[in-house]
């Protein structure tokens, strides 16, 4: 299964959520890999705690592969290469956890040619052979990278793929998330140009809300009644807005609560962070865990 992670705006927490989902999926006993297709800012290594690739790979990153300088992109085994103590040992029963980093100083793609599409499709086909889940993290907004993967998946007729659109729970983000999917030059529009069936693709897209402040959250305890009432009205308005934009509950696959750890330091939330040091909330880890299951669960993806 290929899963493409995209968001219209930056700062949604797309990458850190996608990485946590890959991590949880591996902990659940599956072989999982993460492809850093955010080519302009290849920082996935930092979140996995791999210092040597904190700003992308010095040699053999995805850039070099896509441009044809390498026969195969570099793969980093997170269980072996991470500097973080909690990630160093592969927990019993977990699957492989592999990062394909971007290239240091690589830059966004400035065009997509036939050769790049061929190489991209070849990589996806090969990874699908050996991994249960491959999450491809794309740059925010409309980009050549998004166009590239749409072209590549159009060629891989039998390889299953899905899209996750990440957005925060605000007016601007809800409208933007809808625009990214259905707007002019949005995903459906571009996909149709490359031979995808837009209706079929619509069923392969779900939304993930990030940094959600739940009405009953502990963070709201110190608020005045007026503030709480106002928040509740806002939440209702957003829900109505989301419904109108097709970003409502039925199209939502998961929601990640606001967590201080994710706000201040983007990182993988390990069970140790929740149980031992208690810096992260159990709800956050549970939300990642849930998303990691639903992402491959067909019943969560039945037609809308």
């Amino acid at each position: 299964m290929l899963v493409f992670a995209i968001s219209d705006k930056g700062g949604t927490g797309r990458s850190v959520t996608a990485m946590n989902v890959v991590y949880r999926h591996a902990l659940q006993g599956n072989d999982a890999c993460y492809l850093d297709y955010d080519l302009g800012s290849p920082t996935a290594g930092a979140i996995f705690g791999i210092g040597a690739a904190a700003r992308g790979a010095r040699e053999g990153g995805l850039h070099e592969y896509l441009r044809g300088y390498r026969a195969e992109p570099l793969r980093l085994d997170v269980w072996a290469e991470s500097d973080r103590e909690a990630l160093r040992a592969r927990p019993p029963g977990s699957g492989r956890l592999v990062l394909l980093p971007g290239s240091e100083g690589g830059g966004e793609l400035s065009s997509v040619d036939e050769e790049v599409v061929r190489r991209c499709a070849q990589l996806f086909g090969r990874l699908d052979e050996e991994f249960d889940l491959c999450v491809v993290d794309l740059s925010a907004g409309r980009s050549f990278t998004a166009e590239l993967v749409l072209q590549a998946t159009a060629r891989l007729a039998h390889v299953p793929f899905r899209w996750l659109v990440f957005h925060r729970w605000t007016r601007q983000h809800i409208i933007a998330a809808d625009g990214l999917v259905t707007g002019a030059d949005g995903l459906l529009d571009v996909a149709a140009r490359f031979g995808h069936d837009p209706d079929e693709l619509r069923d392969r897209i779900r939304f993930v809300r990030t940094a959600v402040l739940e009405p009953g959250a502990a963070e709201l305890a110190g608020l005045r009644d007026e503030q709480r009432a106002w928040l509740s009205t806002c939440d209702d308005e957003l829900r109505e807005l989301a419904r109108r934009h097709g970003v409502g509950r039925t199209a939502m696959l998961g929601r990640i609560p606001l967590d201080p750890v994710l706000q201040w330091r983007e990182q993988l939330i390990s069970d140790e962070d929740v149980l031992a040091s208690k810096i992260a909330n159990a709800e956050t880890a549970a939300a990642f865990d849930d998303l990691a299951r639903k992402i491959v669960d067909d019943s969560a993806w039945e037609g809308l």
């Binding site: 026969a71 195969e72 029963g93 086909g125 090969r126 699908d128 052979e129």
Partner: protein
């Protein structure tokens, strides 16, 4: 000069094994040329040979700049309708001229790469054993692409019963006192050195493909056994996770099935040490014992339930 090759082996991307006729279609890579199929003791189909023209640096252990021009011989194979392989090799020879000749010269020598300039056979053979540096002849990239060709066939449904990495086996053949050395280099890469009597024959390439196939079977069965987590999870769960091994792998072990007498001693030597068939047999026994123990447990539960009803 040595002969060198690389074989990539993977699970055919289909939910079940495919029939002989489907094998023929998947491997019909060149129009008009037939796919060779042998049926006993196991269905084995091989695509027609294809050539890739190369003019590039050759990997060298001492990093010296050695240029090679010629063609790489590649083919795909499917064994038991279940395991796919992409295989390429080149025979190195010294070029008579010190410049590139018209391509017709190289096309008349399929699978031969002529080495321009000074080069030591040992240096090239050693250089080939490592991952090829960028810009050098990369037989693995060619084999990988051939395997992709088979795996992306529209006849396959791509719903393979389990996910497993491809393995790659890099081999070098030299003439001398017959010997074979097999080394596991990483979890996916193996290297083999075959020393053969007299001149190189394609049977050596067949031997290496056969080795790659059986090494993949062993590697994959080990992966499935690890995933089953015997002892750590309840018996029925472990047995269920072993089911794909029973369904798709256990019947494929046929070492040296298509090799002539000249190649048989190499397999015998590997079976003595490290003991391929011995390890395979012990793994197979383990899988079957797990399934049996689980069946007995289920039977006793059913019997107990029956007694209580009475």
């Amino acid at each position: 000069m040595p002969v060198m090759g690389e074989v990539h082996t993977g699970l055919l991307q289909n939910s079940g094994e495919i029939e002989e006729s489907a094998c023929r279609q998947v491997l019909a890579l060149t129009a008009g040329e037939t796919v060779r199929v042998s049926r006993r003791p196991i269905v084995h189909a091989v695509s027609p040979d294809r050539l890739t023209g190369v003019d590039c640096r050759l990997p060298s252990a001492t990093q010296s700049r050695v240029r090679g021009v010629g063609t790489v011989l590649s083919r795909c194979a499917i064994t038991g309708g279940r395991v796919a392989q992409g295989s390429s090799y080149v025979r190195l020879t010294r070029a008579e001229a010190d410049r590139r000749l018209p391509w017709s010269h190289y096309l008349a020598r399929p699978g031969v790469v002529e080495v321009l300039g000074k080069a030591k056979a040992r240096d090239l053979a050693d250089g080939f054993a490592d991952d090829p540096p960028p810009g050098c002849l990369d037989l693995g990239a060619i084999s990988g692409r051939f395997l992709d060709l088979a795996q992306s066939s529209p006849l396959l449904d791509r719903r393979a019963p389990f996910k497993v990495p491809r393995t790659r086996l890099r081999w070098v053949a030299e003439s001398g006192e017959p010997a074979i050395r097999f080394v596991l280099r990483s979890d996916r890469t193996r290297s083999v050195l075959v020393v053969h009597d007299g001149a190189f024959t394609p049977a050596v390439a067949d031997l290496c493909e056969d080795l790659a196939l059986h090494d993949w079977l062993l590697t994959t069965l080990l992966v499935l056994l690890e995933r089953a987590r015997i002892g750590a999870v309840p018996g029925p769960e472990a047995a269920a996770r072993l089911a794909p091994a029973v369904d798709h792998l256990l019947h494929l072990w046929m070492p040296a099935a298509r090799l002539g007498d000249a190649m048989a001693p190499y397999w015998e030597s590997l079976d003595r040490r490290p003991g391929f068939s011995r390890q395979w047999q012990s793994l197979v026994d383990r899988v079957r014992d797990q399934v049996t123990v689980n069946t007995l447990a289920l039977l006793s539960v059913t019997a107990e339930a029956g007694r209580r009803r009475r």
